[in-house]
């Protein structure tokens, strides 16, 4: 029925048990992401953004509602769905290269092709020369880039990015935003990006989903119908930004 890479989140609610009492973390989340679409999720800290990604990954099945991938309810994890975690989560006992290769361990590729893919993705994030270095020898931003390389290397149909560029300097950040766009266009992968940076969300995505907390819910959506490449300083960009911020309830603060 649907094309490959489409995601349907229907009436999803999620409770965590805290001190024996249920804590409502997500309430009635409905979200459709089309195949090859790039959406961003913004919202205050603790509103459940990472939790949604965990559910999409299939790491956590204790929720109400349905999450459908290409029409089928997801059950467990799969190489179709990749993630760059908020913490870089490189295994400390593996070198950078081994960490990226681990993602390809079960990918149906010949060994030579795997090696090539690993090298290519390490170069992509600008870490060539650090292949045999352990994660504790990398800076926070370098480790984050390593994690991006690992997330991309699998070439998933849906890529979840949990604040992947948070720890990077402005220039690297801009460069990797371009890379994300390039990869997205080249591979037609569906992207879901969690970010705190509204500019980043508007620059990259087709749609910005705004969440709020207590309990975590979607409060609105802003379609970004600007031609690419987008100009961050254009009036149209600024007015979209105001709409997102006002949905986040911060607009008043911003202009005051």
């Amino acid at each position: 029925m649907t094309q490959r890479g489409s995601l349907d989140i229907r009436k999803v609610s999620k409770n965590y048990e805290v001190d024996g009492r249920p804590l409502k973390v997500l309430s009635d989340i409905n979200l459709h992401v089309g195949p090859g679409e790039f959406i961003s999720i913004v919202g205050p800290s603790g509103c459940g953004k990472s939790t949604i990604l965990r559910l999409i990954l299939g790491l956590d099945t204790g929720y109400e509602g349905d999450i459908l991938l290409d029409g089928t309810r997801i059950a467990g994890t799969s190489l179709d769905r990749g993630i760059v975690f908020q913490d870089h989560r490189l295994l400390p006992w593996l070198t950078l290269e081994q960490n990226v290769s681990l993602a390809l361990e079960n990918a149906p590729l010949p060994a030579a092709e795997k090696r090539r893919t690993v090298a290519q993705h390490i170069a992509l994030v600008g870490l060539q020369g650090f292949e045999t270095v352990f994660p504790h020898q990398l800076s926070g931003g370098m480790a984050q880039r390593g994690a991006i390389a690992r997330g991309l290397a699998v070439r998933p149909r849906i890529l979840l990015l949990d604040e992947p560029l948070g720890a990077l300097d402005a220039l690297t950040r801009l460069r990797l935003q371009e890379e994300l766009l390039r990869i997205w266009k080249a591979e037609g992968v569906t992207m879901i990006l969690v970010t705190h940076d509204v500019d980043e969300a508007l620059y990259l995505s087709d749609r910005v989903v705004v969440m709020n907390s207590g309990p975590g819910r979607i409060v609105g959506e802003v379609a970004v119908d600007l031609p690419t490449p987008r100009v961050r300083t254009s009036p149209a960009f600024a007015s979209l930004k105001q709409r997102v911020l006002s949905l986040m309830g911060e607009y008043e603060l911003e202009v005051a």
Partner: protein, 285 residues
């Protein structure tokens, strides 16, 4: 343990061509190998030696209770050239080495199995927790009845003493793996075996290494006791015989050897630990 080494090797092979440009790696390997020897650590032993010399030359203690350092060195030379000291030494070392290898291999193997499966843990739990509390040395008399006073009885008893610390640490190392790493394994769709090899075992290696270092020292201490209690060779045998014959100088020779060998074992294990755990940040023994 082996799996980490395997990974190392694979990694090294895969990147041999890029050896030349490894900005971080060469920097770190230089950093972590310092600290083994330091002048300050020599002050105390030299002071003790001086005190020993003074005490004997001023006759504070009679030679029969404490021979002078020189007399001790003489006794060492005599034991080495006339009494085949090296054979006793080798026999002790060989017992310790075998006991350590058997005990720790069994412990790591079973520890991983018990760490992975509650069933296995529950199966062995009560038995192990009981046996564990009967000291190795308390087993010796019975085992000697079965196996005789030769090396096998001692190897068995010492291997038992090596086994438990390593087993318990392997088990808890596996159980204490960080959940987020297991989740990563799930996301990468690692099989059970891949998870064990790439995630669970490596994450247990630090605690395994600590227990290996501890039980290597323990094994060396125990061989002395075991040889003193049964058998007719080894450093432990010599030390108790020397006491019986009031050959205090030989007794002190044995004590010094035991100390030095223990020191060497510990430093070797420490170096091994550092080598295996060089991925670990701020690791300092």
């Amino acid at each position: 343990m082996t799996s980490t080494l395997d990974l190392e090797r694979r990694g090294a092979a895969g990147s041999a061509s890029q050896r030349a440009l490894r900005p971080g790696a060469s920097f770190l390997s230089g950093l972590s190998w310092r600290r083994s020897f330091n002048g300050i650590g020599l002050i105390l032993p030299l002071g003790l030696l001086a005190l020993w010399q003074t005490a004997t030359s001023l006759q504070w203690i009679q030679p029969v209770f404490l021979p002078s350092p020189l007399a001790t060195a003489g006794a060492f030379w005599k034991m080495l050239t006339k009494q085949n000291l090296h054979l006793d030494f080798l026999s002790s070392i060989s017992i310790v080495a075998q006991a350590f290898v058997y005990g720790s291999l069994a412990a790591v193997g079973l520890g991983i199995a018990a760490g992975l499966s509650r069933k296995v843990e529950q199966f062995f739990g009560p038995t192990f927790d009981t046996i564990r509390h009967i000291p190795g040395i308390a087993w010796l008399p019975l085992i000697v009845l079965w196996l005789g006073i030769g090396a096998p009885a001692k190897i068995l008893v010492i291997a038992k003493s090596v086994f438990f610390p390593v087993f318990l640490n392997t088990l808890s190392g596996i159980r204490n793996v960080e959940k987020r790493y297991v989740e990563l394994g799930e996301v990468l769709t690692l099989t059970r075996w891949q998870l064990v090899r790439r995630v669970l075992v490596p994450s247990a290696v630090p605690s395994i290494m600590v227990s290996l270092r501890y039980s290597a020292g323990l094994a060396w201490a125990l061989v002395v006791v075991a040889e003193g209690l049964s058998g007719l060779e080894g450093i432990g045998f010599l030390i108790f015989r020397a006491q019986g014959l009031l050959l205090t100088d030989q007794l002190v020779v044995c004590m010094v050897i035991i100390g030095f060998v223990g020191f060497a074992i510990d430093r070797t294990m420490y170096a091994l630990q550092r080598r295996v755990l060089r991925w670990k940040q701020g690791f300092d023994g």
